[in-house]
């Protein structure tokens, strides 16, 4: 027996019968090897980001291939330009408008679909169709449909005396039309998240409320909404972040016009960097936009944490 005990391999001594013990250095390396893919991915993200930041410190442009160091000059120039503030205002108006309408409509659609019925089940499948269309295609499609003289929208409105609307020809009309296309594409996304939330809510609080004779409005306001809110907020965060970064829908629909009425930050950055070839200046616009999106997201995510705690209390 003592012999048997002595034959038990001990780590680090390499005394296994036919089995070689893993050397210590390899065992200590293993955790690092496991995170190599993540590190490579992070590097793949950080390298272009760092390169972009580096470029913003210069006045690199096609007309100036050997640029001078300007420090934060590009950022100072952006922040003192009325054009930037105009674009920031348009971007925020677009993001708030789109996210708000999509949230209200998405939740409403989810509430309707939650009542299980054969029609609801069919609608659920149809609902996701806009999500399967690339936003730029959706925008081109809507551009044709909103065309005042040959577009189908005015044709449908004509019997009601509402034909001839110049959808994208006025500043307000262009912004509202762009938001409408965004709403058409992304409301199903909010609805699907809200519907998933609705279906995961516990039944007991609702049963208790029914026993107590609570009405629909009371139940919705005091039970459904507080418990559903974390799900909705996740959708809001996604949609708000995405809308702040909008490019495709607006570019395909109005190119930022008429005038500068739909000139969001992404389009301005694109024009500066690609069309006008002021690379450093264009990238600086992108970095400013990134900072705005990052800060807004941080605030919303913190708020989400608080809301989740509150929802958990309601469930208890």
């Amino acid at each position: 027996m003592p012999g048997r005990t002595a034959s038990v391999p001990t780590a680090g001594h390499g005394a296994g019968a036919g089995k070689r013990a893993v050397p210590a250095w390899r065992r200590s390396l293993r955790p690092y090897l496991l995170i190599v893919p993540a590190l490579l991915l992070t590097g793949g993200i950080l390298y272009p980001f760092g390169l972009g930041l580096y470029y913003t410190l210069f006045d690199f442009a096609a007309s100036k291939p050997q640029p001078d160091l300007v420090g934060v000059g590009n950022y100072r120039r952006i922040l003192t330009q009325p054009a930037f503030w105009d674009s920031a205002r348009v971007t925020v108006a677009y993001a708030v408008g789109a996210a708000a309408v999509e949230t209200v409509l998405g939740v409403a659609v989810a509430l309707l679909l939650h009542r299980s019925s054969p029609v609801g089940r069919v609608l659920e499948k149809i609902l996701i169709l806009p999500l399967m269309i690339a936003p730029v295609i959706a925008a081109i499609m809507w551009k044709l449909m909103l065309q005042p003289s040959v577009g189908v929208v005015n044709h449908l409105l004509e019997p009601f005396g509402l034909g001839g609307v110049q959808w994208t020809d006025t500043p307000t009309g262009a912004l509202l039309s762009s938001i409408a296309v965004d709403v058409w594409v992304y409301t199903p996304f909010v609805a699907i998240l809200a519907l998933a939330g609705l279906r995961s809510l516990p039944a007991s609080p609702f049963e208790a409320a029914a026993v107590d004779g609570a009405g629909w409005w009371f139940t919705f306001r005091r039970l459904t909404l507080p418990m559903l809110w974390p799900y909705v907020l996740v959708a809001v965060i996604f949609r708000f972040m995405d809308s702040l970064k909008v490019f495709d829908i607006i570019y395909a629909l109005t190119e930022g016009g008429p005038g500068d009425s739909t000139m969001v930050l992404q389009i301005r950055a694109y024009l500066e960097a690609i069309r006008f070839q002021r690379y450093s200046f264009g990238i600086s616009y992108m970095i400013v936009l990134w900072a705005v999106v990052y800060l807004v997201t941080m605030v919303l995510v913190r708020y989400l944490g608080r809301i989740q705690n509150r929802a958990a209390e309601v469930e208890r």
Partner: protein
Amino acid sequence: MDMHAHDRRRFLAIGAATAASATPLLTACGAGFGGGRAAGDGSAADDVTGPFDWKRAKGRTVKALLNKHPYTDALIADLKAFTEKTGIRVEYDVFPEDNYFDKLTVDLSSGRASYDVFMLGAYMVWQYGPPGWLEDLGPWMRNSSATGAEWDQEDFFPGLLSADQWSLEAGAPLGRGGQYALPWGWETNVVAYNTEVFGKLGLKPAETFDELREIAGAITRRAPGAGFDGMYGVAVRGSRSWATIHPGFMTMYARNGLKDFTVEGGKVKPAMNSPEAVAFTRDWAEMVQKGGPPSWTSYTWYQCSSDLGAKKAGMLFDADTAAYFQAVKGASPASGKIAFHPGPKGPGGSLATNMWIWSLGMNARSRNKSAAWLFLQWATGKEHLRKGAIEHNHIDPVRKSVGQEAAYKDKMGAIPGFIETFETVVDQTRIQFTPQEQFFDATTSWAAALQEIYGGKNASSVLNGLAGDLASKVG
């Protein structure tokens, strides 16, 4: 808590150190600024010696970037003849105009030589020339070993070769300095009109700008009642793009004796806010409001052209090609009913006309310059252009000899007024813009300003704002 704060401080310190070390690291990783002037002091053309030979680069492949256009179709249809003549293969990519120039710009600015040759407009020389992306073709043209005698330089219409020649100095006139592209196909901007609606309403083509505005409004008001459902007066471009400015707008602007910029002591100053320019721009916007297309702010040449063809527009003030492709037999509901006219004269009878030149350029970083030059020489030569003009739709040839061909005249003579209009404006047709690097920024902003004026904003304040903004960019 302390530990947490300590960790954060440490993290920030590491972050700062990383940022400080990023500059040399990024440079080491190849993040330095590329795209400097590619051309050296000498030209690759100097390496070509001996007698001229079409087969000199036999077995090579030329890569071409092309824009979707009827001229391109004519070129592609004839590529076999080029390969037979030279033994050079041509590989090409064709992109629609909406994103063609973005593709070209990104490709050239990347410093790669993905394409040896490409289509570009003469205005693009002002943007692509200064960074050194375009090969100066002058040495190739002057080298008799590289260029065949039949490539007759004198045969180009006057002003076309010089329109692609520039000294790369803002405000300097064209026709001096490097030859950065070769003219291949061009377009004059004139008025095309629907003869049917003009006949029914008893109208005659406008001879002045005031008449044009009046006729445009009259068609919008009266044509629908005369059996032309939904017809409006005049199709002109309106999208928020540089392309809105250069056709009809710039032509009428120039006929009124107006300038985009003035050059004083080598300084380029915006002039689109002069009182005369403000008055003209206001009138143009008003013409569009009363007689232009609905949804004008999204109008590109595609919509303008198809509206004329679909009998939605009574007139088109744009490139002659845009109307021609609707006018040919069987091309559109309006074909056979479209005629051409030089358009309104300016005060003093000016028919100054802005032009667009589809040109062919060579990538300065091409590793295949000898073969690329043979391709450019062939594509702008008499043989291909004659075939393109007569057998295909490469109308508006850049060569006088093709324009004088009986077969060409017979073909184009079938379109009422086309040849007469061309001959009337040709001598006054030239690039009416002031050459400067910020051309695309300036004209895109100008188009945005035009949209704002169309939307009801005060023309004077909008154009003053535009001029102020541009002054700091181009000055």
